[in-house]
Structure formats: structure tokens, C-alpha cells
């Protein structure tokens, strides 16, 4: 399934478009997407930091996603690095 991943914070440095689309085999869990995202980052983004991904979570528009959870049916997620609001 095709998954569109929105990039925020320091991940925006990786791709100025602010999102990336990846294909992951079904049935796909969040952990599968994490692995695919890391492989894509290492292969295509000089600014990619695996340590930042390890400290990040994936989320839908309404909630944070657990690693063993299925990916949202609409194929839209965001990767959220550590937050620093306020």
C-alpha cells in the first residue's frame, strides 16, 4: 500500500516538499513503515539521522500510533520528531 508521510521539524531538512510517499507490502504495521522510512532515508537523504527517527513516533491526524498497530486505511501519516513547543 502507498503511504504518504508528512515531515515535520528537523525531518523537513530531508525533503523540502515536506512529505514522502513510500510503498509498503500489506498487511503493514507502523513498525514496517518505520523500517521502510529508515531505508529510504539512508538511501536518499544526506541529512537523515537514524537517531532522530529512533526518538520519533508516527501519528495519524487524531492520535499517536503504536508500533504494532496497522497503518491508517487512508494511507496518511506524519512522522513526529521530539517536540519543542511553548
Amino acid at each position: 500500500m502507498k503511504i504518504s508521510i508528512s515531515l515535520y521539524g528537523a525531518f523537513r531538512e530531508c525533503d523540502p516538499r515536506g512529505s514522502v510517499e513510500l510503498d509498503v507490502p500489506e498487511p503493514a504495521k507502523v513498525s514496517d513503515l518505520r523500517a521502510a522510512f529508515e531505508a529510504h532515508g539512508l538511501a536518499h537523504w544526506p541529512a537523515f539521522k537514524p537517531g532522530l527517527l529512533a526518538a520519533s513516533v508516527f501519528a495519524s491526524e487524531s492520535t499517536l500510533l503504536r508500533e504494532n498497530e496497522a497503518l491508517p486505511a487512508n494511507g496518511r501519516v506524519a512522522v513526529l520528531p521530539p517536540v519543542s513547543g511553548g
Partner: protein
């Protein structure tokens, strides 16, 4: 009875308004009003700051703001009005980055509620700060890792 207002303010369109926050949380029955205002500082870790850019995942950020208000109400009871607003975009030194406010019958609940609001916003809302320094460098703040709700059956406690 709890009344809530949560806003994301694009700095290109408008500014945060502390007086609007005070007005929203006011009520004839409320003798205590507290507000926290976060502004952009001119110094960070000894480096002179020109400004700050805030990036935000808007739909989830608004949900976290609403949860912050619900947590404040759960803490002090239903007689409360709460307000959370955060700026996004490029801010200059002195600009308001965040305004939270709580109105309650007495001061103790108001202080506790306000503290809850700002802590939830700072530690749980999907917002990212990039500081722009006078020397031309820009750096994303390291921040706090978010943590998804544990799996059902997951019993160990976290230390944060």
C-alpha cells in the same frame, strides 16, 4: 460547564492576543484567573537569537490542546474556563509564542490548571521550534520524545 477555546495562530495572518485569553476565561463567578505567556527570548544556550520558526502538525496539535483543557478540568473540577493558543511561522524576539489561561472560582485551582495547560502543550503537542541565530545558523531544538499509548496488556511504567 467547562468552556474551552483552542487556537493555532499563523503569525503571517495574526498575533496572539493575551487580552482575548483573559476575556475568554472570565466569568462573574470566577475570582481566580491565571495566564502563562511564552515569548521568544533573545538568548539561547549563550547564543544570540534573531527569531524562531514554529512548525506544527495542526490537527493533532489542536487535539492535544483540547486534551490539556480536559486534563485541567479533571484536575480542578468542572467550574473552569480554559484557553490555549500557540503561534506558528516565523516569530521575532519578543513575539508571543504561546498563551494559556484558566479561570476558576479560586486562585489555587487557577494556578494548578494553568500549570497543567502549559506543561501538556510543551511536552505533548506536535510543535517544533527552530531557532535562528545572529551568526546566520539555524538549529531545531532537541525537544521531548512523544510516547504513544501503551499496548493493551503492556504493564510496565515509564519513568517520564
Amino acid at each position: 460547564m467547562s468552556e474551552v477555546e483552542c487556537l493555532i495562530v499563523d503569525i503571517a495572518q495574526a498575533r496572539l492576543d493575551a487580552s482575548a485569553a483573559l476575556e475568554f476565561v472570565s466569568d462573574p463567578g470566577f475570582g481566580g484567573i491565571t495566564m502563562f505567556v511564552g515569548r521568544v527570548r533573545d538568548l539561547n544556550h549563550g547564543r544570540s537569537v534573531l527569531g524562531v520558526s514554529y512548525d506544527m502538525f495542526d490537527p493533532l496539535a489542536l487535539k492535544v490542546f483540547e486534551r490539556a483543557c480536559a486534563e485541567a478540568a479533571a484536575l480542578v473540577g468542572p467550574r473552569i474556563r480554559t484557553y490555549v493558543a500557540h503561534a506558528k511561522g516565523r516569530l521575532a524576539v519578543g513575539d508571543l509564542a504561546v498563551v494559556v489561561a484558566a479561570g476558576t472560582p479560586h486562585r489555587d485551582e487557577a494556578f494548578r490548571a494553568c500549570r497543567t495547560l502549559i506543561e501538556v502543550v510543551k511536552h505533548q503537542a506536535p510543535i517544533w521550534k527552530q531557532e535562528h541565530y545572529v551568526d546566520g545558523d539555524s538549529v531545531w531544538s532537541e525537544g521531548c520524545s512523544l510516547c504513544a499509548a501503551p499496548d493493551p496488556g503492556h504493564t510496565h511504567s515509564h519513568e517520564h
